[in-house]
């Protein structure tokens, strides 16, 4: 007879389960944590490799010449930005048109759920400016996006300058097979979301935006550029997007391949590569990098303007130029060459990036762990829940206190009544609904009657619901125990 249909064997298995439940759970927990920590150990990881055949092995010789001009344009942009006190829309439109792009603007406004603490405003208004470089000979079915945010103050001026410099250089090339959209977005994520929503004709956030007058084809890949200094010492890539979504690993592989080719120092999570994986400090460095990636994904917020593209199945990443205290500096021409090379490779794509992994962790830029390797760790932690549930089920079926004789035990398979199971189910659903609706609904009432701000009101309501819920398990447990006693007697 089979393992589970033979009553003797089943009884033995069940008794094993109940007897060793706690040790097995502890073992699973320990194994899960060790497995996860072990993932950062280099021999257990795989080297990154380019999976997409279209972005194959041959590299192009990049020839972007005008880094200095890009910096000058950036300074002009900064001056105009200061003069206007926001986004210099007219100057950007004029400059992009001078470079031969089809320029369009989009205005948007968003009502914030909580007023901005700094500026006491409810509505954020802004304008996006974007220019489309049409592919000289190709049909307008596909597009690539290069974006730079228009940030207040001294940030990201060089990024916009480089964007315009690259636009000028790309315009004189005839080998583009996809339209390239150069986008300067205001208010970072809000502007980017407005642009994407309008581009894809959706409206998920309820923002007000003017429809886009000009459009490219379906976007194959996007790169967001952040550069705030004239020279950089390293180049960082940010992959984590909204809800922890990641772009295809091939985008990171592409970035790393070009970093190696051009000879720029490249980092991920702001951390450099290290060669000493067998030492303790090397291993802890890798663990830190990996855990930083895990935390950033867990936070759910997009860590760059690229994060919003991922929802539309567009592979996107943010590249940041970082200027720290290092001897070797890289100038903007080299950065331009790196971007040119990346765009030429993306130009060769015939299909969307899909050959490489979508779920992965990177302990360093040259090594990765795919979902097939880190899921078992979570699986082990989930097995603990399963074991505890089985233990509880077995206890319900055969309460250990009431055992007259061995044989009678197996016969008496009294399953708990529907009501006793339904009650905690309904209560937990109600609690969930309360947590979901109450904080935002009662926000205004709370602000009126209590001396708290809107954000504090939301948090405090949630805490109140949690505190009320603390009493629930105790009550349901007591209720269930009384039910069991009724059944027994």
């Amino acid at each position: 007879m089979g393992l589970l249909s033979d009553p003797n064997r089943r009884r033995a298995l069940i008794s094993l389960l109940t007897r060793l439940n706690a040790p097995i759970c502890v073992l699973c927990y320990f194994a899960g944590v060790c497995w996860f920590m072990g993932l950062a150990f280099e021999p257990f990881t795989l080297r990154t490799y380019m999976s997409e055949n279209a972005m194959g092995s041959t590299m192009v010789e990049e020839r972007f010449p005008s880094g200095e001009r890009a910096l000058a344009t950036g300074r002009e942009f900064a001056a105009h930005k200061k003069k206007v006190g926001g986004m210099p829309v007219d100057w950007l439109v004029k400059t992009m048109q001078a470079r031969g792009l089809e320029v369009f603007t989009q205005s948007f406004s968003r009502t914030l759920p909580f007023p901005d603490e700094n500026k006491e405003r409810y509505i954020v208004k802004g304008t996006n400016v974007y220019g489309i470089l049409r592919a000289p000979r190709a049909p307008r079915t596909e597009a690539l996006v290069l974006s730079a945010p228009c940030s207040p103050g001294d940030n990201n001026n060089q990024a916009v300058g480089l964007l315009l410099g690259l636009a000028h250089y790309f315009r004189s090339q005839i080998f583009w097979a996809k339209d390239i959209i150069f986008l300067v977005n205001e208010h970072d994520l809000i502007g980017m979301q407005a642009w994407l929503e309008s581009y894809h004709h959706t409206n998920t956030t309820g923002m007000d935006w003017s429809p886009l007058q000009g459009r490219g084809g379906s976007i194959q890949a996007a790169l967001s550029l952040e550069l705030s200094s004239d020279v950089i010492t390293s180049f960082d890539i940010v992959l984590e997007g909204l809800n922890g979504q990641l772009p295809n690993l091939d985008l990171a592989n592409l970035f790393y391949a070009f970093c190696q080719k051009i000879g720029v120092l490249c980092t991920i999570q702001g951390k450099l590569q290290r060669n000493d994986w067998d030492s303790v400090s090397g291993y802890s460095h890798a663990v830190q990098t990996m855990m930083l990636m895990v935390m950033k994904q867990a936070s759910g917020r997009p860590w760059g303007d690229h994060g919003l593209f991922l929802r539309y199945h567009i592979e996107a990443a943010t590249v940041k130029g970082i200027n720290s205290f290092r001897q070797y500096k890289t100038d903007v021409t080299t950065v331009g060459r790196l971007l040119e090379g990346i765009f030429r490779k993306l130009n060769n794509l015939l299909e969307r990036l899909h050959q490489s992994y979508f779920f992965y962790l990177m302990p360093s830029l040259s090594h990765f762990v795919s979902i097939g390797y880190y899921m078992p760790a979570f699986g082990l932690l989930a097995v603990i829940l399963l074991l505890r549930a089985l233990d509880l089920w077995v206890q319900f079926a055969n309460p250990p206190a009431v055992t007259a004789d061995g044989v009678a035990d197996i016969e008496r398979q009294s399953s708990p009544g529907v009501l006793s199971v339904l009650t905690p189910l309904v209560i937990s659903h109600l609690t969930g609904a309360a947590l979901y609706f109450l904080p935002t609904r009662f926000q205004e009432t709370a602000v009126e009657h209590f001396p708290v701000s809107e954000t504090e009101a939301v948090v405090l309501t949630a805490i109140a619901v949690y505190t009320a819920g603390l009493a629930l398990p105790h009550n349901t447990h007591r209720y269930l125990l009384t039910q069991l006693l009724i059944y027994d007697s």
């Binding site: 041959t58 590299m59 192009v60 010789e61 592919a135 000289p136 000979r137 190709a138 090339q173 005839i174 080998f175 583009w176 097979a177 030429r344 130009n347 060769n348």
Partner: protein
């Protein structure tokens, strides 16, 4: 038959040209190139139909082989291949057995006099192993178990322009002119291992003549054999014939 249009690809910085080397000396996609099957028409079925002549009656003459028992045929194949197959269009393959059977069908119907088969793929020699029809000579760029490699990349475009065997074969053939007396033994020596990295191979056992006596121009250069006949042929005057048969001439007069 060209499956990919590289000359007119949007990514070609030098449109309508395919150069053999980055020095841009020789444009192999010049004015004298005529492509009969392009793009999605290049399938195994179409290829075998062209060879065996089993085409629908509506097929234009430019898409037919139009060969008879006095024709010498040159077949040159290149692309991705392996042990016993050549890849067509990402979704199909032609096997060496199919090819051998197609050639046998051609022989049965006397659709060729002599056939020269050149293949430049990985493990190309496997493609001619199965031939069994007479008068076939075959050359391949690599033996079974070897890869055929490409020549040099052009860093302005970002691709390798040509395969090694094809490059050296082209270099050799550019020196052949219609009056050349070079024979097949010279062709077998093209691209030795030092240049090609793989070992080119050839097969001559099915060929009835000795390879040393076969001129390269028998297959290349459109050199046709002229036969002198001593008999006289009477040609009737075509204009008189038309005058007798059609009354329209009288109206025009």
């Amino acid at each position: 038959m060209l499956a990919d249009d590289m000359a007119c690809n949007h990514r070609n910085p030098k449109p309508a040209t395919v150069f053999s080397h980055k020095n841009m000396e020789l444009n192999v996609y010049g004015d004298d190139v005529e492509v009969d099957y392009r793009g999605y028409e290049v399938t195994v079925e179409n290829f075998l139909r062209v060879l065996t002549g089993r085409l629908p009656p509506s097929t234009p003459r430019s898409k037919r082989l139009l060969s008879d028992d006095r024709s010498n045929i040159l077949i040159y194949l290149t692309g991705h291949g392996g042990n016993g197959f050549l890849k067509f269009q990402d979704s199909e393959e032609i096997s060496n057995v199919e090819l051998a059977d197609a050639f046998e069908q051609m022989w049965q119907k006397r659709r060729y006099n002599e056939l020269l088969f050149i293949i430049d793929t990985c493990q190309g020699a496997s493609m001619y192993e199965r031939f069994y029809s007479p008068n076939i000579m075959a050359l391949a760029s690599s033996q079974v178990g070897e890869d055929s490699l490409s020549h040099q990349p052009d860093l302005a475009i970002g691709v390798h322009l040509m395969d090694r065997y094809t490059f050296y074969l082209l270099e050799f053939l550019e020196d052949i002119h219609p009056a050349s007396k070079a024979n097949m033994n010279d062709l077998f020596k093209v691209c030795p291992r030092s240049q090609c990295v793989s070992t080119p191979g050839h097969r001559t056992d099915l060929f009835q003549r000795d390879p040393g006596s076969v001129l390269i121009t028998d297959f290349f250069g459109s050199v046709r054999k002229v036969e002198i006949t001593t008999e006289a042929v009477n040609l009737t005057d075509p204009i008189k014939q038309v005058e007798e048969s059609s009354p329209i001439q009288n109206i025009l007069d």
